[in-house]
């Protein structure tokens, strides 16, 4: 079934590019998690990317573009095998996408060693930002710690002196809490680590209510976040203890949490209400094309396609050296506004606190509350020898 779907998607992508046999064409492998519970993130990112390709008339940088979409199933070994196929059989010019950091770490080495350009639309693990950085790698998202750092800084600014931190008990959860604590200087009353995939949070919520912190910070991606947000609101804590989060309240979960997530805060580098021309166009075109509101993942996918488009135009073709030099200059208008590449090829960009809100047309989106960091790079760039 999965294979069938992948084949269908690939076929659709082929159809999109017209399959004309021109002299110079571009082949992009797009790796995303498209099955299992976290598929929504991959779908958002893919749809954003394909919108970018479509708007270029199926020709990024004027080259006939073929996008081969591959589902990594959130399994590093599967991802590695499929990427091998993309590199050796399909001979892709560029590999883009990748939602999860464990998948990124599994495919990073083979892609870089084959000297193929790798553009992350989401995952930004610290080794790649630091010691293991590579001239072939570019990110149109963020380094993993950053959206958590935003909330730590925000909690400090708001004067929240006592906080409870809560995350699932795995590496990304611990990184999240470390990221929050980088700028936060108040008292951490308690750190709660939950089971990955936890359903019922009433025990944790009772502990939070009992400790009465000034705020809580949490990282609960996907369905776990939906469960937590629903139960947090139902327990009446939403209005008494501020809810700060990262990757928990966004357009992939808002359709399920709706009013229960309105007013809950999250750290992000993008929101659909960011005021710039590229973003206005993107949000409108995306909703017209797909019928749902884009999330930050969609914006990152879209930016990845537009980055490739801009760099190809600047380089005047897909000559690798010229293309890499052009990519590093980020010659495109990002939907997040300010965007340039740091020495480690992660973006230097602004970060915001956003909150869940109901739009006039009844759709739920995140709105900007305030800007927290201006032109911010990540903490690992100094370790990158580039």
């Amino acid at each position: 079934m999965k294979k069938l779907l992948t084949a269908a998607v690939t076929a659709a992508a082929l159809g999109l590019s017209g399959m004309s046999a021109q002299a110079e064409s571009l082949k992009i492998g797009f790796l995303a998690t498209l099955s299992g519970p976290p598929a929504a993130l991959g779908e958002h990112m893919r749809d954003g990317f394909l919108l970018g390709v479509k708007e270029a008339g199926g020709k990024l940088g004027g080259l006939d573009t073929e996008v081969v979409i591959v589902d990594d199933e959130l399994k590093p070994d599967v991802a590695r095998t499929k990427v091998q196929g993309l590199l050796e059989r399909d001979n892709v010019d560029i590999l883009a996408g990748v939602v999860f950091s464990n998948v990124m770490m599994a495919i990073y080495k083979p892609v870089i060693e084959s000297e193929t350009i790798l553009i992350s639309g989401n995952a930004g693990p610290s080794p790649i930002a630091g010691k293991a950085c590579s001239p072939y790698f570019f990110s149109t998202s963020w380094q993993n710690d950053q959206n958590h750092e935003v909330m730590g800084e925000y909690a400090k600014e708001q004067g929240y002196g006592r906080v409870i931190l809560m995350a699932p008990n795995y590496q990304a959860g611990k990184d999240s809490i470390a990221g929050f604590k980088r700028h936060y200087d108040g008292e951490v009353v308690d750190e709660i680590y939950t089971k990955l995939g936890q359903l019922d949070f009433s025990a944790e919520i009772a502990r939070i209510a009992d400790a009465k912190p000034d705020a809580i910070f949490t990282f609960m991606p996907g369905g776990m976040g939906v469960n937590l947000v629903k139960q947090y609101a139902q327990a009446g804590l939403k209005d008494t203890i501020p809810f700060l989060s990262a990757f928990t309240v966004d357009e992939t979960t808002l359709p399920a949490t709706q009013d229960q997530a309105v007013g809950l805060k999250s750290g992000s580098q993008w929101a659909s209400t960011l005021d710039n021309a590229a973003n206005k166009h993107f949000v409108e075109a995306f909703e017209k094309e797909y019928g749902y509101a884009p999330s930050l993942y969609a914006s990152q996918g879209y930016d990845a396609a537009r980055l490739i488009d801009g760099a190809l135009k600047k380089a005047g073709g897909k000559d690798k050296e010229a293309l890499m030099a052009a990519l590093a200059e980020a010659p495109f208008d990002s939907v997040r506004g300010d965007f340039k590449f740091n020495t480690n090829h992660f973006p230097i960009q602004d970060f915001y606190v956003v909150e869940g809100a109901k739009r006039d047309d009844g759709k739920y989106v995140v709105n900007v509350v305030e800007k927290v960091f201006d032109d911010q790079g990540d903490a690992y760039a100094a370790d990158c020898p580039m």
Partner: protein, 305 residues
Amino acid sequence: MTLLAVQTLNGLQLGILLFLIAAGLTLVFGVMDFINLAHGVQYMLGAYLAVAGYGLTGSFWLAMLLALAGSLIIGLILEMLVFRHLYDRSHLDQVLATFGVILFLNEGVKVIWGSSPLTLPVPEILSGSIPISDGLLYPVFRIALIVSGLAVAALLYVLVSWTRVGMLVRAGATNAQMVSALGVNIRRLFMFVFGFGAMLAGFAGIMAAPILAVEPGMGDNLLILAFVVIVIGGIGSIRGAFMAALIVGLVDTIGRSLATDIARLLFPPAAANDVGPAVASMLIYILMAAVLFFRPSGLFPARAG
């Protein structure tokens, strides 16, 4: 001390939710000797049908009726198409075939409703909450969940112990061939039991939808917990499932709320943050292993009870 009381209540409520799911599973397994891994996706379908029904009617109660009917119909269709052909096969065949049903239905749900989580609002009449401790509200819907779980337990008890159908079900569980020889249409009895089990799974899904994310694969995690419950309780025993569900709910909840604090007494804080949650998430499996070791047929074996 109030915190402990609140956590006990939370534990009982998680137990009731687990019982709602485990009841149908253990009923089908006990009566028909049939391992139905697809029980988890039937729970998921209940939740999705309720969301769809709510979209059509705008009423939680009508949605519940539609979803129950839908769960029954889908359960019967699955029984006729797939499961009926597996009753006489080995458990391994049943596991493989019903696992296939899981994959098929998880993808099917994704194709129809998409992969983003959906929601079902709490019905107006149950949307209030009661303050139980300083700053903490207990949602009325959770009380309704507990009441409905107890009602299902009572209904099953009466049905199985006091009705003619229940008598046949118990007889069929003990010796299906003999019951068949006495002129009872055992196939139809099995179909009835299976349909009922499917409705129980669907009902659990409907009741869980307002507090949990409705998403593809939502039944997979719960299925594992439901198996833990029926193994601890004694496979096929409704009473065992009820008691075991409460025990598992309590152990899990109390463990989650106290494990880190206890670990802090024994280890330095950083290590305690690692050890506590790890132990908490293992507790129910340790419990299951212990039960299997000392009482291999479960705490309340069906045959003896």
